[in-house]
Symmetry: none
Subunit: 238 residues, 2 copies
C-alpha cells in the first residue's frame, strides 16, 4: 500500500487500520504532508498503529515502487491523459493472475488532486471505482477500503466460512414427511384444512419449508409444536 503525499492525519490512520483489516503488511508513504505520529492518525489507526509507526517514507513514487512487480494506481479524475482506466475487479484479477507471487503496489494519490499523469504512467494499470457520475469522488480511505476488499474477493482470500449454516444437519426427507403428515392431521382436526383444500395448502407449507432448506433440529421443533397443540386441544375432550 502506497500513499502519495497524504495530508490528512485521520485518513492516514484510517488507511493503516484498513491495511491490518485486510492483511496488508507493507505501508509506504511518498512525501507525506502529515505525520504518522499525529495523535489523530494514531486514534484512527486503532490496531493499525504498529503498521503506521513502521511505514517507510520515500522521496518519490518511483523509489517507492522500485521492488514491486505490478503497480496499480487509482484515479478519480477524468482528465487522465488518455491512460486506460478500468474497474477494480478487472485490474486486480489481472495483477494477481500475472504476478502470483510478486509484490503488488496499490498506489493512492493526494486527497485533493490524486496522482499526476506522470505518476499514473508509472502504473501498469489504473483503477477507477464504480461510483456515481454526479459525485464520484470518495474520501481516500473509503477508496482504499473498496480496493482492498475487492482484492481480497478476487484473490479468493478471506472467504468467510461461516459455517453455522453448513454444519447444521439437513432434515432427512422422511423426517420432514412425517412432520408434515402429523401437522396435516392436526390441521384437519381443527378445521383449518378441509378434505378438498388439504392437498394444495399442505403443498404450500411444504414448499415454504423446502425453500428454507430446513434442518433436522428445526423439523423437531415444529413436530414438538404440533404435539403440544394437539395436547392442548385434546385435553378438553377427555
Amino acid at each position: 500500500m502506497i500513499l502519495v503525499e497524504p495530508s490528512g492525519p485521520m485518513n492516514l490512520g484510517s488507511v493503516a487500520r484498513l491495511c491490518v483489516n485486510f492483511g496488508v503488511k507493507d505501508l509506504r508513504l511518498v512525501c507525506p504532508k502529515c505525520s504518522p505520529k499525529d495523535s489523530e492518525a494514531k486514534l484512527m489507526a486503532v490496531k493499525g498503529i504498529d503498521l503506521l509507526k513502521s511505514a517507510r517514507q520515500f522521496d518519490c513514487l518511483l523509489d517507492a515502487v522500485a521492488d514491486c512487480q505490478k503497480i496499480i494506481a487509482t484515479s478519480g479524475r477524468i482528465d487522465h491523459g488518455g491512460i486506460p482506466i478500468d474497474p477494480p475487479d478487472k485490474v486486480l484479477t489481472w495483477s494477481i493472475k500475472n504476478s502470483p507471487k510478486g509484490l503488488i503496489a496499490l498506489v493512492f494519490g493526494r486527497e485533493d488532486r490524486g496522482l499526476t499523469n506522470e505518476e499514473l504512467l508509472l502504473a501498469h494499470k489504473v483503477i477507477r471505482l464504480r461510483s456515481n457520475k454526479t459525485y464520484p469522488s470518495l474520501n481516500i480511505s473509503h477508496a482504499v477500503a473498496v480496493v482492498l476488499h475487492e482484492y481480497q474477493r478476487v484473490s479468493g482470500e478471506g472467504i468467510i466460512t461461516d459455517n453455522s449454516s453448513f454444519h447444521k444437519e439437513p432434515a432427512p426427507p422422511l423426517q420432514l414427511e412425517a412432520c408434515l403428515n402429523d401437522a396435516q392431521d392436526l390441521l384437519l382436526q381443527v378445521g383449518f384444512l378441509l378434505e378438498h383444500t388439504s392437498q394444495s395448502r399442505m403443498a404450500k407449507l411444504r414448499a415454504l419449508l423446502q425453500r428454507s432448506d430446513i434442518r433436522k433440529e428445526e423439523v423437531a421443533l415444529l413436530r414438538g409444536m404440533v404435539r403440544q397443540l394437539r395436547w392442548a386441544i385434546q385435553r378438553k375432550d377427555s
Copy 2:
C-alpha cells in the same frame, strides 16, 4: 441505507457522503446517538450534506424497514446466534435478482457492537466482509463503502434475472412480525413456549421463515392457521 444508533458524527457524515458517491437516495437513522447537525458530521458529508439533513429518524429498526422488500444486515461479530452469514457479492446478487424493483434496506449497526441478534433476525440475509481474521473489524463508514461499491458492481454487471420463482410478493416486515407475535401468544397459551424459552425458540422459527424468503400469501396462510388453532382451543373453554 439504515444506520442503527450511530454514535460518531464523523462516521455519520462519511456515510452520507458515500451514499451520494454511490447514488443512494434514502438515509434512515434508528435512534441516532449523535446529531446529523453536528459540525463534524457536516464537514465529513461534503456533498452529502443535503442527504444528511433530510435523513429520517425512527424509534426501532422494524419501523425503519417497514416498507422495504429486502432487508440486508451486516455483521462483524462471530457469535451471531446461528444466523447464516455470507460475503457481500453473494448477498447483494441475491437481493438484486429477487427484488429488481423493490426497496432494498442495507442495515449497519452500532460502531462498538453492531446489530443485536434480534435485529439480525429482521434481515433476510446477513453480510460479513472478507476481512482478515486477525483484525476483521472495519470502521463502519469503510464497511459502508465496501458494500455500496459491491452493490454497484454486481448490479452493473447485467445480472440475469431468472425470476420464475420470484414473481410472488415478499412479505412486508410488519406483516411477518404481527404473525410471529400472534403465533407466540398461542404457543405460550398451550405451553409449548415458556417464558424463559420463548425468545430463543421464536428466534429459531423466525430464522427459518426469513431463510425461505417468505411471501405475503404464505404469511397469510400461517396467520390463518394460528387463528384456527386458537379457535379450536378456546371453543372448549367457553
